[in-house]
Each structure stands twice: as structure tokens, then as C-alpha cells.
């Protein structure tokens, strides 16, 4: 059944635009140049009472398919801004952002929403689940908006994803009835709802205890094994050993360039 669903997703993605390259095995493939995420000279300025504040200063970044990239840095360094620009949640002041061949920087909100729904899973620090919906419904809602899976199959897929994140037994509860860690698992399952090639998470463990945070990171690692590209912003040092690459940001600039794997001690 899930196989059929995957075909549907691929078909929809094919309709989304020529820039999407969907291989026959259903896995995302990096764009022609092999890059899944590409940022070119990206600036982001925030207007404040005391003048323009540069959150990002000329960021150049390439992330390839299947990478698990951790973005670290102090508070106010520009980590979240970077993630928001890549997901299309925020718009750059200048520069180009290409994600899986999709030029995020010059699309309107609706185009970005549709693209995000099909190709990108976003996980927020505060989980951001819809409080009135039960866990299954929270997961099926992206499928509903993007019309990916047939209505009758969405519930089964949601249960499958809940099972993957280990909380299937709570499927019919509303978010407030489960713990923070469990809520973040649901948020991750929701991010996986339309089987996107990329998962982006902004401080996914910022609100969790260390044990639960470890479990969440393990979960992310398992997605890399499935061929997903992961970009995770975190303060948590435990992410280092799991990531394939760690990017450190300070004052809106990437300090260590496109440095490959660094040790936990360096974080």
C-alpha cells in the first residue's frame, strides 16, 4: 500500500516543475550538480529601530543529498535565520537559495507552501502541533493539503509514521496529553508525512531533556539511512557525532566553511 502512495507522491512532484528530478526508486536525487541545498551570497537584514541589523552576511553553502548537517552557534548568531531562509519561511534580503533545484528566494508564499509541503519537512523547537487535532490528524494534515496520499490511506500512513517514531499507542490523543519528547516525535512524523527528501529542524531538542534529546537525534540519524538530507540547528553537543558535517555560525557568517565532520569537542 505504501508503495502505491510513494508513486503518487512522485507523480505529484513531477508535476511540480521541471527542476525536480525524481528517480524511479522514489529516493530524492541531488540536482544535476549534486547539490541538494545551495546558498549563494545570501544576506538577511532585519530592520530595527536602531537601524538595519545584518543577521546573515553573504552566506555561501552547499549541502549534498544524504548529508546530515548540524548548524551550531551562539544565540543570535543567525542559525535560525539560515534555516528559515532555506525552508522559505523567511525571505533573503539578497542572494539565491536553491533547494533541490527549486529557487526558494524568488517564489511567492503559495508556491513555497506547496513546494515545502511536498519536498521539505520542517521541525520546530516548540513542536508547533495543532492543539485541537489528535496525533494522527496532525500527521495527515500535510497529506491533506498537498493531496498526496489517497484519503483512505492517510490514516494508515500516519499510524505507520507514529510507529516509526515509537508512539503509535498514543495515536488518538491530542498533543497536550503527551510529553514534550513525544510531541517532538509527532512533529518529526509530521515532517515525514509526505516523504520529503529534506528534513530541516530548528532546535528540535531545545525544549527537551538530554535523554529525550538523544532519542530524537537517533531518530534523525535513521532518516539519513533512508537517504534523506538533514539540516539540524542545535545547541546540543550530542548532535556532533551523529552529523556528517557541522557548520558553525557566528555573527551571521559561517566560521568553518563547509567543514566536514568535526568532533564533539570542537562544538
Amino acid at each position: 500500500m505504501l508503495g502505491n502512495c510513494m508513486s503518487k507522491v512522485m507523480e505529484l512532484r513531477r508535476k511540480e516543475g521541471e527542476s525536480h528530478t525524481v528517480p524511479s526508486n522514489g529516493k530524492h536525487k541531488a540536482h544535476d550538480n549534486g547539490r541538494m541545498i545551495e546558498l549563494r551570497d545570501v544576506y538577511k537584514l532585519y530592520k530595527t529601530k536602531s537601524g538595519d541589523f545584518p543577521a546573515l552576511k553573504g552566506i555561501d553553502l552547499n549541502i549534498e543529498q544524504g548529508e546530515f548537517v548540524a548548524v551550531i552557534g551562539k544565540s543570535g548568531a543567525g542559525k535560525s535565520t539560515l534555516v528559515n531562509l532555506i525552508t522559505g519561511i523567511d525571505v533573503p534580503s539578497s542572494g539565491e537559495i536553491i533547494v533541490d533545484g527549486f529557487p526558494v528566494h524568488n517564489q511567492n508564499e503559495d508556491q513555497k507552501a506547496r513546494w515545502r509541503g511536498l519536498n521539505l519537512g520542517v521541525v520546530f523547537q516548540f513542536f508547533q502541533l495543532l492543539p485541537s487535532l489528535n496525533l494522527i490528524e496532525n500527521i495527515t494534515i500535510p497529506m491533506d493539503f498537498c493531496s498526496t496520499y489517497p484519503s483512505k490511506e492517510r490514516k494508515a500512513r500516519a499510524l505507520h509514521l507514529l510507529d516509526q517514531v515509537g508512539i503509535a499507542e498514543h495515536a488518538y490523543k491530542i498533543p497536550s496529553k503527551i510529553s514534550g519528547g513525544q510531541q517532538q516525535r509527532v512533529a518529526i512524523a509530521r515532517a515525514m508525512a509526505n516523504d520529503p527528501g529534506i528534513i530541516v529542524a530548528d532546535e528540535p531538542t531545545g525544549n527537551l531533556d538530554s535523554r529525550t534529546a538523544g532519542e530524537i537525534f537517533e531518530l534523525f540519524s535513521s532518516f539519513v539511512d533512508q537517504g534523506k538530507t538533514l539540516l539540524v540547528v542545535s545547541h546540543n553537543k550530542d548532535i556532533g557525532p551523529l552529523a556528517t558535517r557541522v557548520i558553525e555560525i557566528a555573527d551571521g557568517e559561517i566560521l568553518n566553511g563547509n567543514q566536514k565532520k568535526i568532533s564533539a569537542l570542537e562544538i
Binding site: E109, R114, L130, I141, C146, R154, R190, A193
Partner: protein, 802 residues
């Protein structure tokens, strides 16, 4: 069928926020129910009352003539301009009900019961034609008197002789004034029965249907004049009055049709206003829902929702509110229509065939209940879903509001006030759009509420004018006229009566300067030093003496002849006599209709009716109004004495009966208006309740911060309640300002509709004060529940609130 998650979210949001949902649903339902009630009732009244009225071939003209026989009717009917003419007689008497209580009854005699030409009654039970010593009773009279077919009923004539008549049948007559309204029952007897009861067998009214131009009022009056000039007067009869039946109705219309129409129009305007208030509330609530769910909108956008999908979701939300509202409003509106029609039917004495809900009313209700909310909600929905994902998720919430405006800064400087009060005042102005909508709703409700009270007081002014105007204790009509000297002498013989005035009246016209004639007016001849009325003079002075050829006109006459001024000389014409008179004064309105007063001596000479009067008015004590029982006693004695003296009197009436009938009618009108005002107040209250609930919900985190820094539950409650009270007070001030014009409009419309007279507005400060109390109560009550729930939350939960 699997319900998609987005629709499930909306349904769960509706269910999860029951109070808010109920608030919107009730707000829509109140307006829709009011519109349904008024429109359906108006339709049923038009269908059943007007059609019943039209079906019985209504008389288009009534000519009051001195005693005549049926040959005169035949002669008038033979006129080319007349289709049919029917002789009628109405005699005042008393009837004993089943409980032994005596009530006034008008005994009607129709020329030919086998061939009733017009104003046909409908047989309900028993016989449709009264034989000798039998009486038919009008249905409402029979019901209220507790009489049935076969009962023997005692009827007392003005000469106190009693006759037992058998109730032969019950008929329904929509053409007579209902017992419930007039306080006088209606019966039908034959001329033979009347003769047997000692009454002279003559007719005194001619009912006419013209041959052509049945809707042309002027033509019909003209035909009446022709009948008078060509047939009636040449035959030696005199005409007392020519009139279109009803109170300002057009020919062929129900006697109260213009009042009913006007009153329904007023109610329709109020129901539309209720709809407007509902619409404002929908906009306010949907704005609040969107504002509260901004973050959720951002999340939905982040997982793939396009704007049109979000718009669809919230339109579905409003549709659900609308559908639920019409599910309540349609049956409630139908019940309301039933109540209103039943009320009108008992008041106006018509038969309600069926209370149904026509497609037209249903469609109006569905349109207003479903499409209107969706239409108005599109404004906040379109603007609420336009927000970017970033702004929705990261910019909304604490600290996301705009900079403080002038008002907020002003409150910030009010060091004299307690911090809770300053915070409440600043909170009031934080959501300015919502505040504006809430204020509009409450302001309109307040303005209409005060307007209803002002209407009541203005009506009271009119009633008081009537009360002030009438100074007699009792009045006795003398159909056909009697000797002035004789009736005044006879009246003064009654023990306790100290003043007796005979009044004469004729119908005349004003000859204008351009040689055209005015409509016909009543010209009254009375002693210039009259003590039985106390007219309020708007301009000029009262009649100064006899032989001065002075007249006083009233404001009603000025409505029709607006060029008349004090000091003018106008030429009056009665029959073939013309004479100039000087207008010395303008009297205020007092429900008599257009009227010209002149001294009896001048009247006598001008009209040629020497020593003839048409009514006698008496007073027991000129320095005070007698008690109702004394008035009744005098009226009874008048009837008795005049009957014994063979002066053949008509019915007597008293000051309190006349005044009581007017006030009863107005009270009913006011009850309906107050019901509408209360509905508006409910919608306004719902508006403020909703606003306060949303304000508190939005500030849940802020309240948590307040409590975390040491604010007591009492302080938190105080902040919320003060805000509610401030909004209420602001709306009261604005409503007070708007209540001036709204009072003028509503009171003017009601008075014009019910009294066919211009407005003398009396603004109701009592209404303004009552509304202040209500609005303060609404402010406190509407904020208490949100304040309580705000203080119930644990600080930690509140700070975690997303």
C-alpha cells in the same frame, strides 16, 4: 467517508471553543430569527388579513346621514358613479356576558341580510341572518363575552329597558373594530328587532362602492359629494360626515392598513439593524479567531497549506456557524412569527389560516444566516491568511503589537490612577479594530434602546396632550342633532353636573385663493369660553368672543393646508354658504384629526343649523377631573335622562375610557418595540462578551507574566473587569450621542404611523440612564467569566501557552 484533517480541525475548533462558537451562532441567529419573524409575520398578516378584508367587498365610502330609509340607498345606488349603496344603522347598547358583566355593544342593522352588498361577514356557526328577537354576535365578541349559539342574552338599550335576545349565530366580521381593541362588542340585529326594542326604525349611514376608480381616493370623495349634492340633501336629509373607512387608509384597504404597514416597516428596520449588529459581531469574532490562530496558520503554511486552502477552511468555519445559526433561527423565527401573528390576529380580529414558512422567507433567512456571515467574514479571512509564515510563527504574540498610540501614552502618564486601572485602560485600546467593532455594535444597540424609550415618552407627550385637551367627564353623542337649549338644560338637571356644553359640527371646505377647494374638514361650533377642552395653542390665541368670525385651526389641518397662518382670512364653505373667517390661533394635535373651531354663535349663523348640537359634554367639577367611577356614573345618567326625555341619544363615553383605549393601544406597540430593543441589547451584550473573552484569551501569557510578578487574582480580575466596563461606558457615551437622531427617527416613524401626526420629540433621559445600568452590567458580566478563567490557570501553564 474519511473527513480530511483540515475540516476536522475546523469542526474540533468549533467544538473546542464552545462558548465562543455559541456566541457567534447566537449572534447570527438573533438577527436571522428577527428577520424571519418580522417578514413571515408581515406576509401572513397581508395574506390572511388583507385578503380576508378584500374578499368581503369592502365599502369604499361611508356617508353619515340624518335618519333615512332604504329608498335613499336605492336612489344613491342608481347614480351612474355608484356601483352599490347599502343602508346601515349602528345603535349603542349594553350586553350582558356569560359572567353577568355588562359591556358596551354596537348593534348593527344591515339593510338586507339576504343580500349583503359589502363588508360581508363570514358565518362561523348557527344562522347567518338574525330573525326577530335574535342577535348574531361577532366571533371575538362572542368569545370574550363567553356566549354561544342558542344562549339567551340580555341587551340593555340606552333607556335602560332590557330585552332578551337569542344568540342565533356567530359571524366573523373583519370590518368592525375588534372588541379587544375598542372595548365594544359587535352584534347584528334586524330592523324589526330594533323596532321591537323601542328604537325608531331608520338607517343613519350609507356605505358605498363606486363604479370606477375604486383606488382613487379623490374620485371616491368626489362621488360622495355628488351623492350628497344630487340625491341626499335635495331629498331633505343632512350629511354629517363623508369619509373613507379606516384611519388614514386608502380606499378598500383594511381600516388599520397604513398603521400595520408602517409598524411592520419599523420592525423590519429594527430586524435589519439586528442583522447589521450580527454582521459586526461575526467580523469581530472571525478576526479574533484568525488573530488567535495566526501561529497555527503559519504552521499550516509550513506544512504545505496554500492560501486558498486556508481561506476555504475559515470560510467553512463561518459556514458551519451560519448553518448552525439558521438551524436555530428558522424554527425560532417561525415561532416568533406565530406569536406576532397570533398577537396581531387577536388585536385586529382576523383569522389565521396557517402558520407556514414560505420559500421566500426561508431563502432570505438562509441568505442572511449563511451568505451574510461568509461575506462579511471574508474581510478578516482574506487579511488574516495573507500573513507570511515567518510573521505568523515568529512575530505574533507578546511584544508583537504596534507602538503605543497617543491614547496609550496618555494613560501611561496618569500616575494618579492605580496600576490595574491604567493597565485596563491601555488594554482597552490595544486591539483598536476589535474595539471599534465592539463599540459600533454596542453603540447601535444603545442608540436604538434609548430611541425606543424616547418613542415611549414622545407617545406619552401626545397622550398627555390628549389627556390635557379633554376636560369633560362624559360625552353623549346625539345623532342627527338636537336642540342645544334642551340638551344643555337636560344635562344640567343631572345631580352633580355643573357644566354642560352642546357642540355642533358640520363638514366644510376651505376655498383657496386660487379658487380650488380643500379636502373636507370638520368644523366645530362650541362656546368660545369652553371649559370642556383645554387646547394647547402653538400660535396665536383662542376664540375671543361671539360674532367676531374667528376660527382656530389645529395642526392636523395645517398638515393638509400648510399655507395657513395666524392672522390669515380664509373662506369656508358649508353646503352653498361661504363666509370669510380670521384665523386667530393654531391648536396642537390631539388625535381629533383636522378640525376648525369657531364660536357656536358664528357656527349657527354660518351653518344654518340653528340651535342644533351633535353632542353634549358635561363636567361635574370644573376645577378637577372626576374619578373614573364618577365619570361612568355621569355617562350612565346622561344616557338614562336623555332617553327618558325622548332625546334619542347615541352612545356616551367618558374621559377615562377614551384615554384608556389610546394608552392600551400604545402599550402594545411599545411592548413590541421593547422586545426588539432587548434583542438589540442581547446582540450588543454578546458582542462585548465575545470581545472580552478573546482579549483575555489572547493575553493569557501576559496574564501569566502579571501573576508571575506578583499580581493577585483580584488584581487580574480587576484589570479585565475594568476593561469591560470602560468599553461599556465608551459605547454608552457614543450611543448617547447617536440616540438623539435615532430617537428622532424612530419616534417620528412610530408616531406618524400610529397617530398619523407629526412628532413632538421627548428625549428619554430615563432610557439613557437605564441603558447605562444595562451596559455597565453587560461590561461586568461579560468580563467576569473570562477574568475568572484567566485567574484559574496555573502560572506555568499560562507561560507555556502557545
Amino acid at each position: 467517508m474519511v473527513l480530511q484533517a483540515r475540516w476536522s480541525k475546523i469542526l474540533k475548533d468549533i467544538w473546542g471553543n464552545k462558548s465562543r462558537s455559541l456566541l457567534v451562532i447566537f449572534s447570527i441567529a438573533v438577527g436571522v430569527a428577527a428577520v424571519g419573524m418580522i417578514n413571515n409575520a408581515a406576509r401572513i398578516i397581508q395574506r390572511d388579513l388583507y385578503s380576508e378584508y378584500g374578499a368581503g367587498n369592502p365599502a369604499l365610502l361611508q356617508i353619515y346621514v340624518s335618519p333615512f330609509d332604504k329608498h335613499l340607498a336605492k336612489a344613491v345606488e342608481d347614480m351612474r358613479e355608484v356601483e352599490s349603496a347599502q343602508a346601515m344603522r349602528v345603535v349603542g347598547a349594553s350586553i350582558s356576558g356569560a359572567d353577568g358583566q355588562w359591556d358596551d355593544v354596537g348593534l348593527h342593522v344591515v339593510q338586507d341580510y339576504d343580500d349583503i352588498q359589502m363588508d360581508k361577514y363570514i358565518p362561523v356557526s348557527g344562522s347567518a341572518k338574525p330573525a326577530i328577537r335574535e342577535i348574531l354576535l361577532e366571533g371575538q365578541s362572542a368569545d370574550l363575552l363567553g356566549l354561544h349559539v342558542g344562549d339567551v342574552v340580555a341587551v340593555e338599550m340606552p333607556d335602560e329597558r332590557r330585552y332578551n335576545l337569542t344568540v342565533a349565530g356567530v359571524v366573523h366580521d373583519v370590518y368592525v373594530m375588534p372588541f379587544a381593541l375598542l372595548g365594544e362588542a359587535t352584534g347584528y340585529v334586524s330592523m324589526e328587532t330594533l323596532d321591537w326594542m323601542g328604537e325608531a326604525p331608520y338607517f343613519n349611514r350609507l356605505d358605498i362602492i363606486v363604479a370606477d376608480g375604486k383606488n382613487d381616493k379623490e374620485h371616491i370623495i368626489e362621488v360622495g359629494g355628488l351623492a350628497r349634492d344630487r340625491i341626499i340633501e335635495p331629498a331633505g336629509f343632512s350629511v354629517a360626515k363623508i369619509q373613507i373607512p379606516g384611519f388614514g387608509s386608502d380606499p378598500g384597504e383594511h381600516w388599520a392598513q397604513s398603521q400595520i404597514k408602517g409598524f411592520i416597516l419599523i420592525l423590519q428596520i429594527m430586524s435589519v439593524l439586528a442583522m447589521f449588529l450580527s454582521a459586526g459581531l461575526v467580523i469581530n469574532t472571525v478576526s479574533a479567531i484568525l488573530s488567535q490562530q495566526i501561529k497555527q496558520i503559519g504552521i499550516l503554511r509550513s506544512v504545505g497549506a496554500q492560501r486558498k486552502q486556508l481561506i476555504g477552511m475559515y470560510v467553512f468555519n463561518v459556514l458551519a456557524f451560519g448553518i448552525l445559526a439558521v438551524m436555530i433561527a428558522i424554527p425560532v423565527g417561525l415561532l416568533g412569527a406565530w406569536w406576532l401573528v397570533d398577537f396581531a390576529a387577536s388585536f385586529l380580529n382576523f383569522t389565521v389560516n396557517q402558520i407556514d414558512l414560505p420559500l421566500s422567507v426561508l431563502l432570505i433567512q438562509l441568505g442572511l444566516g449563511i451568505l451574510m456571515p461568509v461575506g462579511v467574514a471574508l474581510v478578516p479571512i482574506l487579511s488574516g491568511t495573507r500573513i507570511s509564515v515567518y510573521d505568523a510563527i515568529y512575530q505574533y504574540g507578546l511584544g508583537a503589537e504596534s507602538e503605543n498610540g497617543l491614547v496609550e501614552r496618555l494613560f501611561g502618564k496618569m500616575r494618579i490612577l492605580a496600576p490595574e486601572v491604567i493597565l485596563a485602560l491601555r488594554n482597552t485600546f490595544r486591539k483598536k479594530g476589535r474595539l471599534v467593532f465592539t463599540l459600533i455594535t454596542l453603540t447601535l444597540a444603545g442608540a436604538m434602546f434609548v430611541a425606543v424609550f424616547s418613542t415611549r415618552e414622545s407617545l406619552n407627550v401626545q397622550i398627555n396632550q390628549v389627556e390635557r385637551y379633554i376636560e369633560f367627564d362624559a360625552l353623549l353623542r346625539l345623532p342627527g342633532g338636537r336642540s342645544k337649549n334642551a340638551v344643555e338644560r337636560e344635562a344640567l338637571r343631572i345631580e352633580g353636573v355643573s357644566v354642560a356644553e352642546g357642540w355642533g359640527s358640520v363638514i366644510g371646505v376651505i376655498l383657496r385663493d386660487d379658487d380650488t377647494e380643500s379636502a373636507e374638514f370638520e368644523i366645530v361650533g362650541l362656546p368660545f369660553e369652553t371649559s370642556t377642552i383645554d387646547p394647547l395653542l402653538n400660535e396665536g390665541e383662542w376664540l375671543q368672543g361671539e360674532g367676531l368670525n374667528q376660527i382656530v385651526v389645529n395642526e392636523d389641518l395645517l398638515d393638509e393646508e400648510p399655507d395657513i397662518r395666524v392672522g390669515d382670512e380664509i373662506v369656508l364653505e358649508v353646503g352653498d354658504k361661504q363666509r370669510p373667517f380670521e384665523v386667530v390661533g393654531i391648536a396642537s394635535k390631539h388625535l381629533s384629526g383636522p378640525r376648525i373651531y369657531m364660536d357656536y354663535g358664528d357656527f349657527e349663523r354660518f351653518s344654518g343649523r340653528n340651535n342644533q348640537v351633535d353632542e353634549i359634554r358635561v363636567i361635574a367639577d370644573p376645577h378637577m377631573i372626576s374619578s373614573p367611577s364618577t365619570q361612568d356614573e355621569i355617562a350612565e345618567q346622561l344616557e338614562e335622562r336623555f332617553t327618558n326625555a325622548r332625546l334619542d341619544p347615541g352612545s356616551a363615553s367618558t374621559r377615562h375610557a377614551f384615554y384608556g383605549n389610546i394608552t392600551d393601544t400604545f402599550d402594545i406597540i411599545l411592548i413590541i418595540l421593547i422586545v426588539m430593543a432587548v434583542l438589540l441589547a442581547i446582540v450588543g451584550g454578546l458582542g462585548l462578551t465575545g470581545t472580552m473573552g478573546m482579549n483575555v484569551l489572547e493575553r493569557t501569557r501576559e496574564i501569566g507574566v502579571l501573576r508571575a510578578v506578583g499580581a493577585s487574582n483580584f488584581s487580574v480580575r480587576q484589570v479585565v473587569v475594568i476593561e469591560g466596563v470602560v468599553v461599556g461606558l465608551l459605547s454608552w457615551i457614543l450611543g448617547g450621542i447617536l440616540s438623539g437622531p435615532s430617537s428622532w427617527a424612530l419616534a417620528g416613524a412610530v408616531i406618524n404611523t400610529t397617530l398619523e401626526t407629526g412628532l413632538r420629540l421627548r428625549y428619554s433621559f430615563l432610557g439613557l440612564f437605564i441603558w447605562l445600568v444595562i451596559v455597565l452590567l453587560i461590561g461586568v458580566v461579560s468580563s467576569l467569566a473570562p477574568a475568572r478563567s484567566a485567574t484559574r490557570l496555573r502560572v506555568r501553564d499560562v507561560l507555556d501557552y502557545e
